[in-house]
């Protein structure tokens, strides 16, 4: 049932120092191509995500960041290219395939269901059923357990303003919705957590708290891919930075090797290294 133990192995406690690439990537993309009619979203993109790191993905609008994230997580199927998870070739045809392997994603635009409440959103697509006859035959959901777990999970993540998990998402502020989406990914992402502009609707303090959460995930051994337009944030939290430009990977840098200005220069094509 649980793909963690059987399909994949990660040697715990053998994490690399944060800046040095690990021998084998947790998640690797090779030469991903994705076209929409004549528009080329991805033009042969490679990506490596190593154990214990935060990999930022930056790039101008339309550079293909979200398309890359979607192709990594089964939300889009790349035309060509390969995905590798811990040294095994994988193919994600649907988002649930990636979730099955413990890859959780906050998509740009959040992808939450507004009319459903917080707990229902956290457990959407993986509802827990009651024990025994009620669950197996009548297929009744254990709503109480899901609510209790949701509450516990929000507390554990330190998201304290979402007190009532029975409130519908549409009654929340933009920032709170973002918190729900991030919480869902953080709660269920057992291998990789991917965040596409998770701080877009957040204030300075709230963004800082999401960055804390990202660091905590990394420290718990879950590597994170973070897409962001916010350069100071990226340079604060990232171990490595993947720069996406015109559907291609222009460069991979680190906050130590390059300055923000240099990164922006690569992003905009003013410089290549």
């Amino acid at each position: 049932m649980d793909p963690k133990g059987t399909q994949l192995t990660i040697t715990e406690g053998d994490r690399p120092s944060s800046t040095l690439p690990y021998s084998q990537p947790v998640l690797q993309a090779k030469a991903l191509v994705k076209t929409y009619g004549k528009v080329v979203g991805l033009d042969g993109v490679d990506l490596e995500l190593y154990q214990g790191e935060v990999l930022a993905v930056i790039g101008d609008n339309g550079a293909g960041k979200s398309t890359l994230i979607k192709c990594l997580t089964g939300a889009e199927i790349p035309d060509t290219g390969e995905l590798w998870l811990n040294g095994r070739r994988v193919q994600f045809k649907r988002p649930q395939d990636a979730k099955h392997y413990g890859i959780e994603t906050v998509y740009q635009g959040l992808a939450v269901s507004p009319a459903l409440d917080i707990a229902s959103n956290l457990y959407l697509g993986r509802e827990i059923r009651e024990q025994g006859f009620a669950g197996t035959v009548l297929r009744i959901m254990d709503t109480r357990l899901m609510r209790a777990n949701a509450k516990q999970e929000l507390d554990r993540l330190g998201i304290s303003t979402l007190q009532d998990v029975t409130v519908a998402i549409e009654n929340l502020s933009g920032g709170q919705r973002q918190a729900v989406a991030v919480a869902r990914a953080a709660a269920f992402g057992s291998k990789v957590v991917i965040l596409d502009e998770p701080t877009a609707a957040l204030g300075v303090r709230e963004s800082g708290q999401v960055l804390d959460l990202i660091r905590r995930l990394r420290d718990e051994g879950i590597p994170v891919i973070l897409v962001s337009h916010n350069m100071p944030q990226v340079f604060e939290v990232a171990d490595r930075i993947h720069i996406q430009r015109l559907g291609k990977r222009a460069a991979v840098i680190t906050p130590q090797s390059h300055s923000m200005t240099e990164a922006v220069a690569i992003m905009t094509g003013a410089s290549t290294e």
Binding site: S113, L116, M141, L162, N171, S173, L202
Partner: protein, 354 residues
């Protein structure tokens, strides 16, 4: 890989993360009384039709003493049984942000198949019912397949299949009704009554109520029900959350077909006949019941019970206005106004969130 991910508990075993992500405060508009009412109606979509029904019953009871006669009350329930059943199927589809114009046609087709196979082809009555049920399932599957495979809008699909199913019904029956005497008792038994405190209740009404109980349970207590809401609420979000949207949609249309076949059985008992012309008003009446019952045409919002209230409201209005001695055209007028009021109310409630 299984479609339904196995129930997983959130990354259990990991130590609690410290610190606090204290995000923006709730912005629910609780300030004005009107805003509070709006939030209440928003949270309980069956509230407004419930109030309307109670008010209508009181008003018509005051206007005409005959309204509360047991014979009249049992008449209202019988008049509501078929539309009420079709409204369940319609609710499922409208919750997915679709609409089904073919409910009446599917019901007619299934009722003719039940009656004809039992009478002309001498198929045993229980088997005839099962064949009718299968026809309903298949008809629903046709709608569902067209919606999910060809990606056509449900309105267009069911407008087409409405005509197809009606034409097939007419061809199959040669345009003739099957009268009650020719149909085995089991199939017409849904029109038989038993008495509760003097109020005659038909078995058809009981079947309808059982269907409401079952479907209300399914929609609120099972993951499938929740997925139907999620798909109607926001298809792309549901897909990204890992729900097989097409599978949910297809299953909704098939379930609707099954419910419509049961509606066909109730209809045969009510009319004591199976007629190819029975379904014409039922399409729009079922939509009316659902909309008045507080389910949003935009999908994702509404309740099964609301549709029963909606069907009862229409039944009570028609009956009450007739008892008050008003012409049929005033019933039609009243139903029209009810629809517009209900949809305006829905819009106003939804605006609370924009």
């Amino acid at each position: 890989m299984s479609a339904q991910p196995s129930p997983t508990s959130p990354a259990s075993g990991a130590p609690p993360r410290k610190g606090s992500v204290d995000l923006a405060t709730e912005f629910l508009d609780r300030s004005s009384p009107l805003g509070r009412i709006r939030n209440l109606l928003h949270r309980y979509p069956a509230l407004s039709p419930g109030i309307v029904l109670v008010a209508a019953v009181i008003i018509f009871g005051v206007i005409s003493p005959r309204f509360f006669f047991v014979s009249n009350l049992s008449l209202i329930t019988q008049q509501v049984a078929v539309v009420g059943t079709l409204a369940i199927a319609q609710t499922l589809i409208i919750l997915t942000a679709g609409i089904d114009l073919s409910v009446g046609a599917i019901m007619v087709l299934a009722s003719l198949v039940m009656a004809q196979t039992a009478s002309a082809n001498h198929v045993p009555a229980p088997l005839a019912l099962v064949i009718g049920l299968i026809v309903g399932l298949l008809a629903g599957a046709v709608n569902g397949a067209l919606v999910t495979r060809l990606k056509l809008p449900p309105f267009i699909v069911t407008l087409g299949t409405l005509n197809v199913f009606l034409a097939v019904s007419l061809l199959y029956s040669n345009g003739a009704s099957v009268i009650g005497q020719q149909i085995p008792d089991l199939i017409t038994s849904t029109g038989n009554t038993f008495s509760v405190d003097g109020v005659g209740i038909t078995y058809g009404v009981v079947i309808m109520l059982v269907l409401y109980i079952v479907m209300a349970f399914v929609m609120t207590k099972t993951a499938w029900g929740r997925h139907v809401y999620a798909v109607g609420d926001d298809k792309e979000s549901a897909r990204l959350a890992g729900i097989s949207v097409n599978r949910v949609l297809l299953s909704v249309y098939i379930a609707a077909g099954a419910i419509l076949a049961i509606g066909a059985w109730i209809q045969i008992g009510r009319a004591d006949a199976a007629s190819p012309n029975a379904g014409t008003d039922l399409n729009l009446d079922s939509i009316t019941a659902v909309v008045i019952g507080g389910t949003s045409l935009f999908g994702g919002r509404g309740t099964i019970w609301g549709s029963l209230l909606g069907a009862l409201i229409v039944g009570v209005f028609r009956n009450g206005l007739a008892l008050a001695g008003l012409d049929v055209l005033y019933q039609t007028l009243a139903v029209g106004i009810l629809i517009i009021v209900a949809v305006s109310l829905d819009q106003w409630i939804r605006k609370a969130r924009s």
